[in-house]
């Protein structure tokens, strides 16, 4: 510490606050309001009871709060809300942030220490915010011989691809951003981009250790895509459809985990390898290759890549829940009406809220299961990894596929559920 901080003067503090408010008012009125009016010129406004709902009507909620309900209902069902907030990117990012914090505390408890403790009043709950602020304020150093366009754009592509995956996950009946008939195949297609992105970033870093790390990432992810797809194939046989919503609805009597436990195990191990988590974190092996293909990331680039990784974690955990554990199916525990006797327009839908609740709980359970090996296992070596991936996992998934085929041929199950 070279200098002591300046003395605090209350007058200066109030002056800086007033200055801030002044600039906010100027920018909102000179730039924000015209933008809003230009947007409103182009968006069609919703109808309710034969009346067009304008923003002025919305502001009259001070008088009668029930007038806001139609507007909120309209906004919730727009495409933008679904893609950006729920069940799209903001929901995934929130779960990713919670996962990072829970992982640090969980591992700390297993290692007999406290994790983050001082940021935030209760046990360090604001640590993520502090880390985000720190990463934003750091300088991003690009190596001098690096390929600048690829170096700067690859982390953004990484996050964008991970966010694109969240558009295919159904969280509740009817709540999915894009309901494709080949949803499962689309997920695997997008997952196939990640080895390319890792290789591009490591090549453009123009340094030896990222080069080795990128090659290892390529080998690892490509080797484990095959057991991944094969284990999901048993589920496709059981549900006769590639549409993720249909797969969930085919599990209304029992979970597919009961018939295909080997496939679930293979899927779990392959998703650990796709996510580069311990014990499969050789592309970022710290003691051998100095952080692998992430060596040259610093500042916000590192933050973006971590965000993308944890969003991918959420997606793969959600996929496990959808394929093997019944998605959003669960006993109905929410009441049909929040306010009994209310007859106006309602946002609350009992089945949807129930579905969201069960889905979130199951996803969190699987995320904890994915976090567990980090506290228990050391890193694996690349030849053992390839041996395991190519021999053992493929054999296991084939065994389970034959069991499922035998049960369908024997007439116990039909494609689409129990007979």
């Amino acid at each position: 510490m070279a200098t002591a901080p300046k003395e605090f003067r209350f007058g200066n503090f109030v002056g800086s606050l007033v200055w801030l408010i002044f600039w906010i008012i100027v920018i909102v009125s000179l730039v924000g309001l015209p933008l809003i009016f230009i947007l409103l010129f182009y968006i069609p406004l919703p109808y309710s009871n034969g009346e067009v709902i304008t923003p002025y009507l919305f502001l009259s909620m001070i008088v009668d709060p029930t007038r806001t309900v139609p507007i909120i209902k309209f906004l919730i069902h727009t495409d933008f809300f679904r893609a950006a907030i729920f069940p799209g990117f903001a929901y995934a990012a929130l779960i990713a942030a919670a996962t990072i914090f829970v992982e640090r505390k969980f591992l700390a408890k297993m290692q007999l220490r406290t994790g983050p403790l001082y940021a935030g009043k209760i046990e360090g709950i604001l640590q993520l915010m502090a880390d985000g602020l720190k990463l934003i304020s750091k300088e991003i150093i690009a190596p001098s011989g690096a390929d600048k366009p690829i170096f700067w754009s690859t982390p953004i592509i990484f996050v964008a691809t991970a966010a694109a995956l969240t558009a295919l996950i159904p969280v509740a009946p009817g709540w999915v951003v894009s309901d494709l008939d080949v949803g499962l195949l689309a997920i695997f297609a997008i997952l196939g981009f990640f080895p390319l992105i890792a290789l591009l970033f490591s090549w453009s870093s123009n340094s030896k250790y990222p080069f080795i790390g990128g090659l290892r990432a390529l080998h690892q992810m490509i080797a484990f895509e095959i057991p991944f797809i094969l284990s999901a194939l048993s589920i496709v046989l059981l549900s006769a459809s590639l549409n993720l919503t249909d797969i969930v609805e085919a599990q209304d009597s029992f979970w597919f985990f009961a018939i295909a436990p080997l496939s679930a195990f293979v899927f779990y191990i392959s998703s650990l390898a796709e996510l580069e988590r311990v014990p499969f974190d050789l592309p970022e092996a710290e003691s051998e290759i100095v952080a692998g293909w992430l060596t040259e990331t610093s500042g916000m680039i590192y933050g973006l890549i971590q965000l993308g990784t944890y969003v991918k974690l959420y997606v793969l955990a959600a996929l496990f829940v959808i394929l093997f554990m019944g998605g959003w199916m669960g006993p109905q525990i929410f009441p049909q009406e929040l306010i009994p006797g209310y007859s106006g327009e309602k946002i609350y839908n009992a089945t949807v809220v129930n579905g969201i609740f069960w889905f979130t709980i199951k996803t969190f359970g699987i995320i904890m299961l994915i976090l567990l090996p980090r506290g228990i296992n050391p890193r694996i070596r690349i030849d053992i990894l390839l041996h395991t991936g190519w021999y053992k996992l493929i054999v296991l998934s084939f065994i389970n596929m034959f069991i499922v085929l035998a049960m369908i041929y024997g007439g116990i199950l039909t494609p689409g559920g129990l007979q």
Binding site: M1, A4, A108, K109, M110, Q111, L112, R113, T114, L117, L372, G375, I376, N377
Partner: protein, 173 residues
């Protein structure tokens, strides 16, 4: 002379035992010492030396304490430190003591001191001991040089936390 032969366990048992061991630790107490809210308790009153018997008395080696009524200005501590860290320098003080004809006393530079305690071993008049105080950081290098008047002050250290071992593990506090 025995050579050990390790039993080879099967892969599945190995993993299950590891998961079991890891999960058992989730129920154990955390071991962290939350410094500076919790501070460890030190045994004894600081490292001291008895020149008649020629042996030291156990204690922790922190900042020195100089007893002005016993120091004679013999410079033995400075001579000892010359070969180790050159941290002690004799300076003239304004006090008049009967046993200190030249009125010089040691001044210690904590930027250089390695806290070995051999100066305490060298003093034959029971004048230089060490205390528990180890929080000596400052903003400038000049503030680290402690004059004889500063060295005469006895520090206050109130650490009370100890390690407790029970059936749920070891913890501080």
């Amino acid at each position: 002379m025995s050579s050990s032969i390790i039993k080879k366990t099967s892969t599945a048992t190995g993993f299950i035992k590891a998961i079991e061991s890891g999960s058992k630790h989730l129920l154990m107490k955390r071991f962290t010492l939350r410094f500076p809210e919790q501070k460890l308790k030190f045994v004894g009153d600081g490292y001291q030396f008895d020149p008649k018997r020629g042996v030291g008395i156990a204690g922790s080696r922190g900042r020195h304490i100089l007893f002005h009524e016993k120091c004679t200005g013999c410079q033995l501590c400075a001579i000892t430190c010359e070969g180790i860290a050159e941290a002690i320098e004799m300076v003239k003080v304004n006090e008049k003591w009967k046993q200190n004809k030249k009125s010089i006393m040691p001044q210690i530079d904590y930027g250089k001191c390695v806290f070995c305690g051999l100066c305490v071993d060298a003093c034959p008049f029971y004048a230089l001991y060490m205390t528990d105080d180890f929080e000596l950081s400052s903003f400038t290098k000049e503030h680290l040089i402690y004059t004889p008047a500063q060295l005469a002050v006895k520090p206050k250290y109130d650490g009370t936390v100890e390690v407790k071992i029970d059936e749920r593990g070891a913890s501080h506090g």
